[in-house]
């Protein structure tokens, strides 16, 4: 139940990849036949990625994953457009791949506005408009949030960006296979995606860059990826990513239908527990995301007890982070620190069944009660011991 962290590569994906790890090992840059086989395979995958998001094949650049795509989009746009301005707008709930890049860019002399979000985690198009300055060169707002699943009004944001002639980047890492995407209709100039979030391989992603966009490379070297991203292509992974996105995009309606049913069943069941709240938006959310907080308890101990029952989930608790900071996303949504502690994210995948969901609903009440009995914060009427 932690599919937002990662997913296993699908059987069909692995099957497509295998020949490119063994017999078809040619370097796509070589002019002889084995090289051409690899080259053709990457181009086929590129077309599949383009088709999945309504882009052209020559607007897709393969990278080492979501983190590289985000870094490239932000740093590449910032440094290529410095003569036009040095102001960037993002949101306060972005993934660290965007936020930490923005902080680094601030150190390089850029100015960054971090838009607040409402209690559901949505940015306001009005506030975005107000934040725009004459020297704004980039707006980077994620399509869907990895912790609370909130989907942003991307089409509106894209329109605002276009009207103001500002580049618009969106981190769509969590959205692929869940939210239908059309980069043209949504006025998206740059879009990040990552293979392992939609049953493709890890360490492989892509950045969509609209034709005509002024961007610096992140990696310098050979002439791969039309001289914009150096380094010998990870051919097997690219092939796998292509297959995975083709399947994910093709099955999007069917997947969402099943996931939505499970999500709603899970949320309804969890909210029956007293002092339990839903985080994120009730409807504008990924079909696979459930995020709740249980008052009076701490998330890491919750995860350990769930793990003992064979249920794997995640939390925004400070105790479960290497920085000992609570989730910046829940904090930005206005959730108080001690309540962030008791947050639980269950992210569903195609592999989950209704039985899995029922099992969670069966074991969670006891676990929550057990920790509540242990906590000094629990009022007497919520104790059973």
């Amino acid at each position: 139940m932690d599919n937002s962290a990662t997913t296993p590569a699908r059987k069909e994906v692995v099957e497509e990849m295998l020949p490119y790890l063994t017999e078809n090992f040619g370097n796509p840059s070589s002019i002889y036949d084995p090289g051409k086989i690899s080259k053709r395979a990457t181009e086929k995958a590129r077309q599949k990625v383009a088709d999945a998001i309504g882009a052209e094949e020559n607007e897709i650049y393969f990278t080492s994953g979501g983190t590289e795509s985000d870094n490239w989009a932000l740093k590449g746009i910032a440094f290529a457009n410095r003569n036009k301005g040095n102001h960037i707008i993002t949101s306060s709930i972005e993934h660290h791949a965007v936020l930490h890049t923005c902080i680094w860019l601030e150190g390089q002399g850029f100015e960054v506005t971090y838009l607040p979000v409402d209690k559901y985690g949505r940015v306001s198009p009005e506030e975005l408009k107000n934040a725009i300055r004459a020297d704004t060169i980039l707006i980077s707002i994620m399509l869907a949030n990895n912790e609370i699943g909130t989907i942003q009004p991307v089409e509106e944001i894209g329109k605002i960006a276009r009207e103001n002639r500002i580049y618009f980047h969106t981190d769509a890492v969590q959205a692929i296979g869940h939210v239908p995407i059309d980069v043209k209709k949504m006025n998206i100039d740059l879009l990040s995606l990552s293979g392992h979030k939609f049953e493709g391989p890890k360490g492989c992603g892509a950045l969509y860059i609209r034709k005509g966009t002024k961007i610096e490379p992140l990696l310098h070297g050979g002439a791969q990826e039309r001289k914009r991203r150096a380094g010998t292509e990870n051919v097997p992974a690219i092939v796998g990513l292509g297959k995975a996105i083709e399947l994910a995009a093709g099955e999007i309606e069917e997947t969402n239908k099943t996931l939505l049913e499970m999500r709603e069943h899970l949320i309804k069941g969890l909210l029956k527990l007293p002092k339990t709240h839903l985080n994120g938006h009730p409807t504008e959310r990924l079909t696979n995301n459930v995020n709740v907080t249980f008052e009076y308890i701490e998330g890491e101990s919750l995860l350990l007890l769930l793990n003992a029952k064979g249920i794997f989930a995640s939390t925004g608790s400070a105790c479960n982070s290497t920085s000992l900071e609570p989730s910046h996303v829940l904090t930005a949504c206005g959730v108080p620190h001690e309540i962030v502690h008791g947050s639980l994210r269950l992210s569903l995948g195609r592999m989950n069944t209704r039985e899995d969901v029922d099992r969670v609903l069966e074991v969670l009440p006891d676990i929550v009660q057990r920790l509540r009995n242990m906590s000094p914060l629990t009022p007497q009427n919520y104790r059973t011991l």
Partner: protein, 129 residues
């Protein structure tokens, strides 16, 4: 989190969890690092800890430390209990991951608070060292 088997044992089956009515001393401390809370209840007879219970709002290491610390001070004199360090608690648990060492501090501090609360109830000066 990579916890020792001892930590997992004390976390899964915490000893001395709960509260004591009409106790002789209570100590409640919060953790400045991650915001967690531990509460210790003492029953004291002849300067000895006759009974001890805890309540903890915190991670696996915090709960295991509470459990182990209360085991270690049960039956001990107040002076002996005062000397229990967070290091000793961590060692008794076969070690804690470095990032979790601060969680065992909660136990040490809560015991100090509880002992001083007891001394205060008896009209005595609190200990500082």
């Amino acid at each position: 989190m990579d916890y020792s088997a001892k930590v997992m044992d004390h976390f899964s089956n915490p000893r001395n969890m709960g509260s004591i009515e009409n106790c002789d001393g209570v100590g409640e401390v919060g953790n400045a690092k991650c915001g967690d809370i531990m509460k210790i209840f003492l029953k004291v007879e002849d300067d000895r800890i006759a009974d001890v219970k805890f309540q903890t709002f915190g991670c696996g290491a915090a709960i295991a430390s509470s459990s182990m610390a209360t085991e270690l001070i049960k039956g001990k004199t107040l002076k002996e209990a005062w000397k229990l360090s967070n290091k000793a608690v961590a060692e008794a648990l076969d070690g804690l991951p470095p990032i979790k060492m601060h969680c065992s501090m909660l136990a040490e501090e809560a015991i100090h608070e509880a002992i001083n609360d007891h001394l205060k109830n008896k009209g005595l000066e609190p200990w500082t060292e």
